[in-house]
Amino acid sequence: MNAMAELASLGESISTDICIMGGGIAGLTAAITLKEKSPHLDVLIVEKATTGWAGKADRGGGILAFLTPDDIPDDFIRFHVHNIGCFLEDQELLSEYAHTCNSVLDYLDAWGAKLAKERDGSWKYIKTPGVDVPWGMASVELDMCRCLRKHARKLECRFLDRTTMVDLLKEDDRVVGTIGFSIEDGGCCVVRSKATILANGSQNYRVLPMWSPGRGDGIAAAYRAGAQMRNAEFGSFVNMVHAASREVIFGAEDHMYNASGEDISARYRPGVQPDICAMSAIGWYKEYLNSNGPVRIKSDENVLQAGAEVLFASDLVWDRPAAIAFWSRLWEKGKSVEVEGAANMPEVIPGFVGEQSPVKVDHGMATTLPGLYAVGDVSYSGSAWTGAVPSPPGRIRGTGLMNAVWSARRGAMAAAAYAAGLVEIPGVDHAQAAELKERIFAPLRGDRGVSALDLVRAIQDAITPVRYSNWKSEERMREALGKVLEVKGRLADLTAADPHDLSRCNEAVSMALCAEMFYRASLERKESRGWFVREDYPETDNANWLKWIVLEDKDGEMSVSTEDIPMARYPIKV
């Protein structure tokens, strides 16, 4: 049997120049960029759901945080370093972002996405109310991914939908393909490629609904293949949400009151805050500890939620029919359980999001493995331009879409250059693929064992409590890590009834791995900085912790090391 026939014996075998994992906004941007730059390249997007409908982009605010004509890149950089990323940024990449991110709006516009414009053709934007920040917010209609899919199809990109890719295939150190399966019929699928681009999002532990598709498949695949991770400790983003409907209340963190009627926002959010901060959830937790819960907000004071309702669910600022329908329907259903009498002082709770995005990449979005690139939310923190924050909403709402497009263009360019250096699509080692197939499909073998949803619930219990993942301490994190490792020990018992369930099993494995990364990195960082808050190390320690924490697999163990941030060559000093 020749090599190709051997591979085909495992299932469907596909060859392509560039394989993109993930058909959301970052994956589509990468595909379009590749075809625009090199039309002769064969580009394949593999997507677990349906390309153009997948991912978070079309289920969010459609906000693009960009530098308005009145904003200066150097002001943005300075503000970012001091108030957002807290000196943990790669300032060189941050500078490139600040000077080139506005091109994202032009590209989206050219590719058919609908951006709001003024009569003179300039971008229609607003500034964040209540704070003076050096950026503005433009908007895009919430069918942007469908528009991009249409454009990508015109450029003859190929799509393989309803297929989840689980692991990467390697030849020595370089990535030469990927292996997964169809969630429809469970057929194994092997893709050989010159380069692979991960664009399948962050880890959100399927807690809050709209962030739910980010289940860390790409992060876990990259880690297992030997790629390094960076900034994995910034993966515990929370939004304050309505206790009854679990809908996010914009601005809730600035109007919180405890059971004694005291304004606790001022206590936990001193000074000017550009956006959400970890202390809101921590403050909520402390009030509960002191028997001062529940925490409520005064809706009458909260102009941000009122503003969001105007922005998202009306045509008063931006005329976006899809966005208006989406947000109106969401809020209308939420209000059905938001008790009328309590509408003006609803109870709020921290809604865990996560937004862990640690795949380490260089300025071209190349991972530490040759042939593997990571763009969008899979490498937001791993790219390090963002500093000490989880992926957006993070501390600058609207940089999620911007970074997705901006980083995907860079990653696509670099991947194209890499692929150009290879004459042929590399071969794949059959034995390696067969071994991975065995592991991937193992849960389908037995009818007894543990269900993926049970283990997901157990991982959520170790990651969502504020006392574990946001108000951190050595003791509590060790307790949480113990819970994660207990789940890890049960992964071999996962059982799946069908291919959809098998995909859930892979997601549970990814979640356990990401949670372990989060706690191992968090235990290492012995200080507080930006979103990262420790009860036992409450101060920022610039003498010892201007470092990135790097994780990688070494012989089956998660190794933790640090990398000094090259502050000497950065313009903004501590």
Binding site: T50, P209, P213, W284, G334, P350, G351
Partner: protein, 72 residues
């Protein structure tokens, strides 16, 4: 868990709802040539299937109590 009702009498089989679901809750049933609610437990009531159905055949009824996590 959430309830998803599909009025199959009005459905013309365009498959938009199946494509629209980013959680793969809906599947396309080939013999019947119609959508089926296969994994309601994975529905996150984003309502995009409901909003995208050109004939208004789908209704998503959220079960807010099903969404639970421990913040404490």
């Amino acid at each position: 868990m959430n309830t998803i009702n599909i009025n199959l009498d009005a459905c013309d089989g365009c498959m938009t709802c199946v494509k629209a679901c980013f959680a793969n809750v809906l599947r396309w049933e080939k013999p019947a040539m119609s959508p089926v609610v296969a994994y309601a437990e994975d529905c996150v009531h984003c309502n995009v299937c409901e909003l995208s159905c050109p004939r208004g055949c789908i209704e998503v009824i959220p079960d807010f109590a099903y969404m639970r996590w421990s913040a404490l």
